[in-house]
């Protein structure tokens, strides 16, 4: 046995005079709830009694109070030497913002603008047989691939978009070959995605996609009556052909390689359960409920198909409750957007999602190479340009990335794309999970900074965050288990614990 020593009480390891330093945090009161939501700069959260919040900021929170340990644990306060707490906060901050490190990882190639659909909300596509006018030229494709490899990101996702990119499959093949050729020396972690109606899929394309591990992403708005009303095709069989395309793609590539997302029109809003059920019936494990975007034809068709954020949120809450019910009953299905937001809330990690980040994903997480050789900061920036506003055009594929990164467009994004510095967002408790969208702000409010109280982007996110935190505050074990299964990408039943 070692030396005899006099062990000290716990009090000996705390400052003689009670006291603590406050670490950066924000708070929000949720409608209809007593407790106050606190979130810190790195996305940890706590619910505390109003009196505890007041004591906390007054510097008088009792060190014996249960809330004291909770808030210290999550780094809302630091007792004594704050060195380690600061270090941990810094590490968490760096992790959260780590997507910035390598620059844009998502590269959209708009290989053709041609399309055979005439969707009511479509922003940009053209029904034209004129290949030379609306397809990306080989020289443009080559320059675009060069630009992509100038970016430092170790992981690169090449996404083909249109129009209907399969109408110009030879471009997809050309770009893929160019990328793979360059990558022999570059050795990046490259993956490929095609966003398509899947109507033109044939065995030759599928063999190519399988060979190169492509993922396919398609649009499925719901049951046939809804889908076909939203997405008219000359044969009026769009829905049937999409399902046939999905089946074919799954057969060749595997279920996990095929994803679908919705676009919600006013007609959709009355049928949340039917839309979700349609996804379940078709063996999808994820449904992405996307409101209309305020671009292109969508703006022109606003009166016929549009709706307000409140209507969307009412729809979303209903759909969400339905999804939770299905999960509890043993069906594995997530809402893709909520899964992204919950990952921001419940994990220390960022997601690959580029449309909700601070600094904004536009230009920093994604680059768009348009068929005509223009480079845009985001797909929305490209659509805005189709409407005549080229604010987010960085330049041409023939300019080096350095020059594109130094463009006025990027300066605009950097000036208005850091949510931490935007009026409204700067004080918002949801900020750590939310993001800045200067493109949306310019499109809808005429100014990239935007005005939060009247912003649809903000109203939508405030509504969704309030709903999610309401569920988190309730803490129903079944719901928490479902959330955790979404965040960790595991089967609900394979989770042993399940609390969040």
């Amino acid at each position: 046995m070692g030396e005899r020593i006099a062990f000290k009480e716990m009090a000996a390891f705390r400052p003689v005079t009670p006291g603590y330093a406050l670490m950066p945090f924000r708070f929000a009161r949720l409608p209809g709830r007593q407790e106050v939501l606190l979130t810190n700069e790195v996305g940890e959260f706590a619910f505390v009694a109003d009196a505890d919040l007041r004591a906390l900021v007054a510097g008088t929170l009792d060190r014996g109070a249960p809330a004291y340990d909770e808030l210290a644990s999550r780094h809302f306060l630091a007792e004594g030497n704050p060195g380690a707490v600061t270090r941990m906060l810094a590490a968490k901050y760096r992790t959260r913002k780590s997507a910035l490190r390598g620059g844009p990882a998502l590269h959209l190639f708009v290989t053709s603008l041609r399309c055979d659909h005439s969707c009511a909300y479509c922003q940009v596509s053209r029904q034209s047989p004129d290949k030379s006018r609306y397809d990306m030229s080989p020289a443009t494709a080559r320059a675009a691939v060069d630009r992509m490899f100038e970016v430092a990101s170790p992981a690169l996702t090449v996404e083909f978009q249109g129009g209907e990119p399969l109408l110009a499959f030879d471009r997809i093949r050309q770009v893929t070959d160019l990328v793979l050729e360059r990558n022999q020396a570059e050795k990046r972690d490259v993956s490929f995605v095609v966003t398509s109606t899947l109507h033109q899929l044939d065995a030759g394309m599928l063999a190519f996609f399988r060979q190169h591990g492509f993922k396919l992403s398609t649009s499925l708005d719901g049951p046939a009556w809804l889908h076909d009303a939203n997405r008219p095709t000359p044969g009026r069989d769009g829905h049937a052909r999409t399902l046939a395309g999905i089946a074919l793609a799954r057969e060749w590539l595997g279920d996990a390689q095929v994803a679908a997302l919705t676009t919600l029109t006013r007609r959709s809003l009355d049928h949340p359960e039917a839309i979700v059920d349609h996804y379940v019936e078709n063996s999808f494990r994820s449904v992405f409920l996307r409101p209309l975007s305020p671009y292109g034809f969508a703006v022109r068709a606003e009166r016929r198909i549009g709706y307000g954020t409140a209507d969307f949120l009412a729809f979303y809450r209903r759909a969400f409750a339905h999804i939770l019910r299905l999960n509890r009953e043993g069906t594995r299905i997530d809402e893709a957007y909520a899964a992204i937001l919950l990952t921001h809330i419940l994990s220390p990690f960022p997601t690959g999602y580029v449309d909700l980040r601070s600094p904004a994903g536009a230009g920093l997480g994604v680059l768009v190479y348009n068929y005509d050789g223009s480079v845009y900061a985001s797909d929305e920036g490209r659509m805005l340009a189709e409407m005549g506003d080229t604010t987010f055009r960085l330049g041409s594929v023939h300019q080096p990335w350095q020059e594109l990164a130094g463009s006025d467009a990027m300066a605009t994004i950097l000036g208005a794309g850091v949510a931490e510095a935007l009026p409204g967002c700067a004080d918002c408790a949801f900020l750590p999970y939310c993001g800045a969208d200067p493109v949306h702000a310019l499109a809808t409010q005429g100014d990239p900074v935007g005005h939060r109280p009247t912003s649809a982007h903000c109203a939508k996110h405030t509504g969704i965050f309030q709903m999610l935190f309401d569920y988190l505050a309730d803490g129903d074990p079944g719901t928490m288990r479902t959330f955790l299964s979404w965040v960790t990408h595991q089967d609900r039943d394979s989770l042993a614990g399940g609390a969040c």
Partner: protein, 392 residues
């Protein structure tokens, strides 16, 4: 339980550290003959004179032999099983003491780095001493080249190994040189690594070492109280980050007792939020030795009363992809769902079972108890597990 020491007749000029090998392995040349004692017990007849000529350092025999030409002759061991081929032993001519430093095939082999420590944990099972034990570095440097080269893992404990400073670097370097495929598992309180300069002592271990750092709370003062060191938490956290940033693997170790269990669940969330990069989290029952006995009143908590918190915390980490294990908690107090996380961990020579365990179906998978544990350290929940109906 095999003892670590025995006595016999040791004929040798000076104390020696020797690798004991059967004749075939000795002749294979894997180890320098000058460090090898050939075990001639139950072997074929061998001319011991020839072994001397071949340069072997010694022989181990059942009894005296007429002629041999080796410097060291060990025989007439009181407990012959203490020494077996593959082992490394220290033999002392004066006292005739033979100590086993490495046992081939044991479930854990550990280098004991030092008795010194800069903390004084309330439950320390091996209370530190401030002796000058610099000789231990020399012994480890002599021992490492004699260890089995196919050893998957080698442990190091103390005391606090980082207090060896450059000596630690030398020992890790020796492991890297002589045992290139062996992983090192080093118990450290991590505090030394709060100074990035100390990382140079760990440098030769990058890629082969897991640093097992205890963290006893999510808030500084509770941890500092347990380790009886002001600033201990801050230093451990800084150390963990410094190690991880230098490319080392880190394991977090939590000991379960009355001062740590109350914050076990927030602790799990704390690890997930702040150090999701860790290799492994070990949640361990209290070992009733050393200071733990002195501080029993402050520390003792029946595992039955913490099992549910423990399982919640373990699954909180496990579900989030952090490898998590439970050690030193008998299976019968754990719900069956948690059994896959429970390790049969207590070293061969330390574990024992209660009378009740006699009729238990899962005894073969259970950690049992520390041999040192008296009745007062046993959960009231101990009851044999039979059939498929148990579960918490």
């Amino acid at each position: 339980m095999l003892p670590l020491h025995t006595h016999g007749i040791v004929a040798a000029p000076v104390p020696a550290l020797l690798k004991v090998l059967g004749i075939a392995e000795a002749l294979s040349g894997a180890y320098p003959p000058g460090k090898v004692a050939v075990d001639l017990r139950d072997g074929p007849e061998v001319d011991a004179t020839a072994l001397g000529a071949a340069g072997f350092a010694g022989i181990v025999t059942d009894g005296p032999v007429e002629r041999h030409a080796v410097p060291v002759h060990v025989h007439s061991l009181r407990d012959g099983a203490v020494v077996a081929p593959g082992d490394v032993v220290r033999v002392r001519p004066g006292t005739g003491m033979v100590s086993n430093l490495f046992r081939r095939g044991a479930n854990a082999n550990t280098l004991f780095a030092t008795e010194r420590c800069n903390s004084r944990c309330l439950m320390c099972s091996q209370p530190p001493r401030d002796d000058n034990d610099g000789w231990r570095v020399r012994e480890m440097l002599e021992l490492v080249p004699l260890l089995d080269r196919d050893l998957p893992w080698l442990g190091m404990s103390g005391g606090e190994p980082t207090l060896l400073g450059d000596g630690l670097r030398e020992v890790i370097g020796a492991v890297a040189t002589h045992l290139p495929s062996t992983g090192l598992h080093i118990l450290t309180n991590g505090r030394t690594f709060a100074d990035p300069g100390a990382l140079r002592w760990a440098a030769p271990g990058v890629g082969r070492t897991v640093w097992a750092v205890p963290l006893y709370s999510d808030v500084s003062w509770r941890h500092d109280h347990v380790v009886q060191a002001e600033g201990g938490f801050d230093q451990a956290v800084q150390g963990i980050y410094n190690l991880a940033e230098a490319g080392h693997r880190v394991e977090i170790r939590m000991v379960l007792h009355a001062l740590t269990v109350p914050r076990l669940k927030p602790f799990a969330e704390f690890v997930w939020r702040n150090m999701p990069f860790v290799d492994h989290v070990a949640l361990m029952g209290l070992e009733p030795m050393g200071y733990a006995k002195v501080n029993r009143d402050q520390l003792w908590l029946d595992p039955l009363d913490y099992a549910s918190d423990l399982v919640d915390a373990a699954f909180h980490l496990h579900d989030r992809g952090i490898r998590t294990s439970i050690y030193n908690v008998p299976l019968c107090v754990l719900p069956r769902a948690a059994w896959p996380l429970a390790q049969q961990s207590i070293s061969d020579w330390k574990n024992t079972f209660a009378p009740a365990c006699g009729g238990c179906d899962v005894r073969g998978r259970c950690c049992g108890f520390f041999a040192s544990a008296g009745e007062g350290w046993r959960s009231r929940g101990i009851k044999p597990v039979n059939g498929g109906h148990h579960g918490g």
